[in-house]
Symmetry: C2
Subunit: 515 residues, 2 copies
């Protein structure tokens, strides 16, 4: 035990006494890198000082690189050069790459400080977004489906049908795995498109976020390194972080991750890799078959698990849809997550997870302890949506709607955007990623764009380290074709004005590494 005895009569400030007690314990080996300190609250109680005093002491240690605060998990001892033992071997990837090459040498506590700063910036960014909440703005922002696209009384009819079909069965909680008939229906659909699976390979969750939460929580024991492709929907990386993981990132291009990115990972470890292979959010493009093959080979070689988020799978245009990663890699090394949130509506919170029967059993036990099961009525309604043909009819209709809106956006971009600007060409989904010339901040552009009457989401919202500062996500999920055309025209005029200024001419452009 560390001896925290302090002398309240001494001239030495209390926080310095505490700081030095911890430093001594590190020197003597009582505390080792990776050790977790007691919480601020219990340290304060144990030593008999205020929490502010303890925080002050920890701040000093953190500044000196001898401790780091891992958000959501407490304060850990460091060796003064690295944040924990984990990132030591990872210096070529992820957060480390957010520093310029010359700064790379003494990463570690710096890396943590940078990430923490960026988390604060993230909050500020979300506050800035609220500026777009005024009337007359064309929103190229929304990442969820427009409920007005559903047939009138959709939910009322589905609820009534489900209750008529399943009756009081829906009054009681289901097995934590979920309604068996719903699991069978999902298994049947996956089997028809991909590779044969059984209902015991399906777990029903409260949206795909909970599917990722279960995988993240289970991995606390398994201990695979968590890697996410980036850009990435930040809900995913934030969830892995909140569950206690340090998240590494690999930058993808519009085809997905390539061999060069995977080579940045030490080959002697096994990983949990999160990817969004269909109509990637925010890029809108599918993972190419060639890149899928590279990922499968890498996963086999390293014994890694690939978590494939197939949220947009049924909202792609026909002809270009690659097979699921699971078809090649098999269920032992793949987790497929999906939900009705993009295809039908977000309000149902109905998702699912497909993997090996053994993993499904383990995750169902966790699900049982976390919230027992998904609401029975919602599960019955999902089954009704699938079985009645509504799912296929609606996704087919909406894929065509979104394709037309994408075409309208691409056409307007071609016509109005300055030639220095580039963008991805979505294979499906809701959005594309637009790239300004390096050095121009999407956050600064956002502020002038809403003055012109159009809003989008700045790139830093799609990366745990707030990179992609020169990128913008433009969504065509809600506006109609005329609004899209007008929105892009307004945005192009904001971009034109903006590019007349020299690059880097914005306080917010210093946020990221511009790659």
């Amino acid at each position: 035990m560390v001896n925290y005895t302090i002398d309240k009569e001494s001239d030495t400030p209390l926080y310095i006494q505490i700081r030095d007690a911890i430093k001594d314990a590190i020197k003597s080996g009582e505390l080792l890198p990776g050790d977790r300190l007691p919480s601020v609250c219990s340290l304060a109680k144990e030593i008999g000082v205020t929490q502010a005093t303890v925080r002050r002491a920890l701040q000093d240690l953190s500044d000196a690189g001898q401790a780091c605060c891992h958000v959501g998990r407490g304060t850990f001892i460091q060796d003064g050069s690295g944040p924990t033992s984990a990132p030591d071997r990872m210096e070529s990837i992820g957060a480390a790459r957010t520093l310029g090459p010359s700064e790379r040498a003494p990463h570690g506590s710096m890396e943590f400080a940078v990430r923490k700063l960026r988390m604060g910036v993230g909050k500020a960014l979300r506050d800035i977004m609220s500026l777009a909440e005024k009337s007359g703005i064309i929103h190229l922002t929304k990442g969820v489906p427009d409920p007005r696209c559903l047939p009138e009384n959709f939910l009322a009819e589905v609820a009534a049908e489900a209750l008529a079909n399943f009756g009081t069965e829906l009054y009681e909680a289901t097995d934590p795995l979920g309604n068996y008939e719903l699991r069978r229906e999902i298994a049947r659909r996956f089997t028809a498109e991909e590779t044969p699976i059984t209902p015991d390979q399906v777990l029903i969750t409260n949206g795909s976020m909970q599917a990722v939460t279960l995988v993240a929580e289970a991995n606390m024991e398994i201990g695979q390194r968590v890697v996410c492709e980036t850009p990435c929907f930040k809900g995913i990386t934030d969830t892995f972080s909140a569950m206690g993981h340090w998240v590494e990132t690999l930058t993808r291009d519009s085809h997905g991750l390539g061999q060069a990115q995977l080579n940045q990972l030490p080959p002697d470890l096994s990983y949990l890799l999160y990817i969004c292979p269909y109509a990637h959010n925010p890029m809108g493009t599918h993972l190419s078959e060639e890149r899928a093959g590279i990922l499968v080979d890498w996963a086999r070689k390293t014994g890694s698990l690939i978590v494939a988020d197939e949220l947009f799978k049924d909202l792609g245009w026909t002809g270009s849809k690659p097979p699921s990663i699971m078809r090649e890699l098999g269920p032992e090394q793949t987790v497929v997550v999906s939900s009705l949130s993009k295809s039908i509506m977000t309000g149902m919170r109905l998702g699912w997870l497909i993997s090996s029967p053994q993993r499904i059993q383990q995750l169902a036990q966790l699900k049982k302890l976390m919230d027992h099961s998904a609401p029975s009525l919602i599960q019955g309604m999902a089954l009704t949506i699938f079985r009645s043909g509504r799912y296929d009819a609606h996704t087919e209709k909406m894929a065509e709607v979104y394709r037309q809106r994408r075409d309208a956006m691409l056409k307007a971009l071609d016509r109005y955007m300055p030639k220095e600007v580039t963008w991805t060409r979505p294979d499906g989904g809701f959005s594309l990623l637009l790239e300004l010339p390096r050095g121009y901040s999407s956050v600064a552009l956002f502020l002038s764009a809403i003055d012109k009457g159009v809003a989008f989401l700045p790139g830093p919202l799609f990366d745990i380290d707030q990179r992609f500062v020169h990128c913008c996500r433009l969504s065509y999920a809600w506006p109609d074709e005329a609004e899209i055309k007008e929105g892009i025209e307004l945005l192009a005029s904001a971009v034109e004005d903006f590019l007349r200024r020299p690059p880097g001419d914005s306080g917010l452009s210093g946020l990221g590494s511009y790659h």
Copy 2:
């Protein structure tokens, strides 16, 4: 870093080489008590051996008291006398007390082994329970409400009304805090009965299990010691364990925890204490006002947080309901959790959590990352159930139904049960706890009872350490009064036969400490 280099050509078995490498690292101070070892999977990969070999090595260390496997979290180094630093100071309480006084000295790894064994026994017990799934058995087992007690078409009418009232608003996900009107309704009801609260003190969850999950996950950073009264619904203690906490238990009597139990906790620490103050599951009794006062004083003195599970609050008989702990202790030190699962139905998975605005904000952020929000339709339906008067009408009706069933059970127990047997007298809820003379196992009794045609839940199912072997939970939630009378008569005859045998005459009686 521990040096795990092994010599595959050596005559020394691989697992012994690994075990000794870890022992050496402990001796040299490289590994300290409380340190977590890498996962079995990654150790196996790093060393280049099979996982079975690593497990064998860890088993040896565990047998020697130098490591312990904390379920769901991995393997931790121990000093050979205690399981982690936590229970060292807790020797007088909880799991330690499951050992006889003479065995108490070298607890630690023993304690963990015992708890692990009991978790295995718990699974076996649940398998045994399935023996009751045959026709003609009177079930005094169910801890959930009977959906047949609800008015016909209840769910269909509520769903239709909610959709008529709130329309397409229910198609989109709500704020992670939940539907504002529902939060306002819950705040209004709590204010009317207890102490004024505002909607920003209410968070909507997927059942009360998720409310407990959020509190448990948030406490991973705060670090208060987790203590649960026992007996206790095992879902609660299992959830705290799965989220990474070591759960201590204090034995309650039918009035709740007393000063003597609280005195077993070191007074210089602060705790997270879980209690079920209304119609306790399984005892059925309310926390007495005197005991509530003792708990409030203790919480103030130690700065502890009390999690009060008010699941059965509205299913008590009028006149005996004490005020909520929050009225005296205040929202900063209280979390109230509740749900519709006992009062209306389990299938909705709709619960809530009441605390300080600041804690609600923190927990909502976690909720957002775990599964975003509760399904909007389910929230709209809960609001409809409250606003339409259905909630009050149904709970009032059911409280009377359950009171009559309780009376039928108490009357039958008085009439048929041998005089050595005692039981609690429920103030509400679904069940009572029956106590056999010490030394008689409820598990053995269960087997003869189902032969006679009646089933109940054995006491070990209500304790994380499988104690309360001589106790039985008898539920009157589902059977009608005639079935209850017949069921108790059958049970009494099984008990009579059973008590003719000498105590301890059962392989399963060795499970617990009989207190």
